[in-house]
Symmetry: C2
Subunit: 288 residues, 2 copies
């Protein structure tokens, strides 16, 4: 039984610039993910590792590359979902910790809860001994500053989805949110069924204008289209994304199904993305 892996670095890219550094990093990242899956790693461990490296890269609007909110505070969101066990963990409006995706995974594994927000999330991360960011101004290097390029969308998210060699599916998403978002704003990334989902059929990680993904329940809708409507992965993902776009939003997503099919549709100008499979597919792209 083979494996499939996809990663994304957000649907914010503008054709006004190129993304060689991001694509080179993503290529190396995918190679490491492929090695892990070849060695029998679980989908859950691989998506966690992929998102953790994307957070740390500073190349995307998440982790080190996050944007500050309207009060100058770095609030981060992340979620992880293990489709085989239908477990999930997430953090929202987390301040002061370096690895939001590890915080999300700790919520999944160390509490009976799915989502912790705000100061309670930070207190939990402290008790778990997760690595702190003692000096935010020194640590964060926002990947998108205000209107670097006129018209560039100041949102971004990273994510990964995988089907491992045992057929298990998992999804992970992490974001630093919107530039100048209101303090406390939570987008779709940490919301199970909105921006992140995994079950026995499909694993999904979304990116884009989160409010529209929430109002269309995009990630869960893909699974529902496959389950109740008998749609293929590609049709389900395209349909859910079209519904989101019809609400007025933009963005994209990556998804993998139980058969190992992968799709990465977007309705924005571009989406930083990479796909690798045990069957030999390997591609990293930003635009169409």
């Amino acid at each position: 039984m083979g494996w499939s892996l996809a990663v994304h670095g957000g649907a914010g890219p503008s054709k006004h610039r190129t993304y060689e550094a991001e694509e080179a990093h993503m290529t190396a990242l995918l190679e490491r993910g492929a090695d892990m899956l070849d060695d029998g790693a679980s989908a859950l461990d691989v998506v966690t590792a992929m998102v953790r490296e994307l957070e740390e890269s500073g190349q995307h609007v998440d982790g080190k590359g996050a944007s500050a909110n309207s009060e100058g505070v770095y609030e981060l969101d992340a979620a992880v979902m293990d489709g085989a066990a239908r477990r999930a963990g997430a953090v929202a409006a987390l301040v002061g910790f370096r690895a939001p995706i590890l915080a999300a995974r700790a919520v999944m594994e160390k509490t009976p809860h799915v989502l912790l927000a705000g100061q309670g999330a930070a207190a939990f991360c402290g008790r778990q001994g997760l690595e702190q960011v003692p000096d935010p101004a020194a640590y964060y290097t926002p990947a998108v500053k205000k209107a670097l390029v006129q018209g560039e969308l100041a949102h971004g998210t990273v994510g990964a989805v995988a089907r491992d060699a045992s057929g298990r599916l998992a999804a992970a998403t992490s974001t630093g949110g919107l530039l100048n978002k209101l303090a406390g704003r939570v987008g779709d990334a940490p919301l199970i069924g909105s921006g992140t989902w995994a079950d026995e059929r499909v694993a999904v990680s979304c990116t884009g204008q989160g409010e529209f993904f929430i109002r269309a329940a995009v990630a869960a809708d893909i699974s529902a289209r496959m389950r109740y409507g008998g749609q293929t992965l590609h049709a389900a993902a395209a349909g859910a994304l079209a519904d989101m776009e019809a609400q007025g939003g933009d963005g994209g997503l990556i998804a993998v199904d139980a058969a190992g099919n992968v799709t990465a549709p977007f309705v924005s100008e571009g989406m930083k993305r990479g796909i690798a499979t045990s069957a030999g597919r390997f591609e990293v792209k930003t635009f169409r």
Copy 2:
């Protein structure tokens, strides 16, 4: 064209006690809601008013009757969704404000966001001039104290769904969460697609062990079953709830569809609930 309305006061009731006071309050509440709908009020205004009164009653685990978290802090969650416009607003882990459902509605109407959490949510409520709770110890009168009755479930939520005379659907949910929940814990109530949902087909408000509702995306799943699977409201609600129960949780929900059908299934011992329609149906019950 007629109207339909349903409200719930949580799926926590135990057969070890009776709920006359809650049922009497809910009866009066439903009568006021029926009057509003007879007078042409929008579904959105009616569900907001119903949930606001349930919050204020102190009879349920929300609003005045909320439970403190493990640190003794009252953190509240609420969401509202306007199906006709597919707009939504929500607050999570909100501390210090009296009317979480009005905070959720303000997020929907006064910001481009759907969900605000933690301190940012409180700061927003302060700027909006929403009523504060200056002395939590004096204000809150927890509806469920620790193990009042052995085996009583220490969770609770209130909600309302309506279809107005113009055919518009809306849903609202508010909760004080679980007794002794971790600080920052966010359940399904404020999560669009998990515990609250409204679109052109159906409006849903859930109650129960929120983590399981999140992992099954219960509220959005009901709409998906109707849309892609052609299921009736009753079948869709029962199916989504059965999926939640299969994950190990308990609880219930209220839902109304575009044709005015109403359903109120639960897999817990009881669910405080009331249903009224312009066709003359009027019932308030706690158990089967």
